[in-house]
Symmetry: C2
Amino acid sequence: MVAALGRLGVVWMKGLYVLKLGGSLVTDKSSAEPKLAPDALLKRLSAEIRDFCADGASLIVVHGAGSYGHPLAKSSGIHEGIRTKDQLVAFAETQKQVNELAVNVAGYLIRAGVPAMPVQASASAVMNSGKLEKMDVDVIRDLLDIGMVPLLYGVPAYDRTNGCSILSGDEIAPYLARALQAKLIVHASDTDGIFTADPRKDKSATLIELVTRDNLGEVRKSLSGSSHVDVSGGAERKVMELFNFGVESCIVNGFTEGNILRALRGERVGTRIVP
Amino acid sequence: MVAALGRLGVVWMKGLYVLKLGGSLVTDKSSAEPKLAPDALLKRLSAEIRDFCADGASLIVVHGAGSYGHPLAKSSGIHEGIRTKDQLVAFAETQKQVNELAVNVAGYLIRAGVPAMPVQASASAVMNSGKLEKMDVDVIRDLLDIGMVPLLYGVPAYDRTNGCSILSGDEIAPYLARALQAKLIVHASDTDGIFTADPRKDKSATLIELVTRDNLGEVRKSLSGSSHVDVSGGAERKVMELFNFGVESCIVNGFTEGNILRALRGERVGTRIVP
């Protein structure tokens, strides 16, 4: 902690929160070219984040890549490793694209008054066979200490085995949450939470509002017994991953106004998983 | 080194070169707003870098911030430390601006076929009272191993004492050169090299083409004996800094076509300092 900053008040003491914004929230995910999400959506998300920061807690924001990076990574195959010289250029170009997205997202947050500082995970991350092996979290802790809001994002990163693999926002968020002992991870995307079945296909599907040790068995039974094996199998795995991870988490639909702010504030919204 | 990449040929073995591009080369430094250098200049610089990479050596490019970052850093005072909440936002905004510049410079290099991957130094750097204390160089070494061209740039960074200070390209370049045992640092900006006096004021000023242990005393005497005390004092200090640093370096004017490529290739251009 920096002595000269005492007057700013170290917000860190009120606990650390991690907000993961899915690629569908910050970009037009359906676009084959890099395309930002609508202006109104990005402004509204930024306002909710600003309002949460005003509460005085520490916050890390992590966003996905959506239509930035993903299409190029897939078409060039760099997510499966580097084998040609053209893939070296595609690796660089993918990094450039996701940096550009983060510059844009940071711009919205900064204009809303949030000290959102882009932090490029791949400047220190080392992957191994597609898994994050190490990443510098010291600077992120330091930035939180002085009241900044580190803004991380999915990136192509050096991989010890393959030359390159994708370090996704979904991996960065829990890594930081664990390393920095976050109180809560909010996963905001385009789904309302975990349902007993696929709500798009099954009208009897209901939202599971809370998963705790007490109802975990029942929830798993409900998800695995669903007629929509693929979806519910995925949902069961997701619930178990979040449960076993050990940090309280919440899955909310960021397209619904106010959801992110409510989830960060601990209000009842989406699916909350309390290990 | 990645086994799967053996077929790409590891360029690293031919030695490492560091190219520092001054802010005057990549931006319009006279602009009060962030403004990129002219398209033709950036294309020509990129082509020279591409041609050097084709020689098969490893290269790190580091650029200054010029009209990106600098004006905001100065007007907000973040280069002298963080004391207010507004400065937190200015810190974030300055980072955003320099990232935007690096995205643009990377874009030119990538379009020329150079695998130039932006690497944000402040994602791992810790400063102390304005001096670089530590920075992760492992990923940069790893990227070089697979044939990438790491692209670093001046950034506002966390400072243990002041909250924030500026980590300039002029500090990043020698730090990396020493850590990764570079053969040569080329400093390209808007000056032709080191002169015996200020060539804008003194018509008898001549370029000092080579500084070695043999003529160092003579060069210093010439610089310190000049009638232009301020300028020559600065030049003498610069020569001594580069000489004492221990890595061969070359100061060239990047505005003259071909200079950067010639300097990287070891041809006679500008001022070469051989410790």
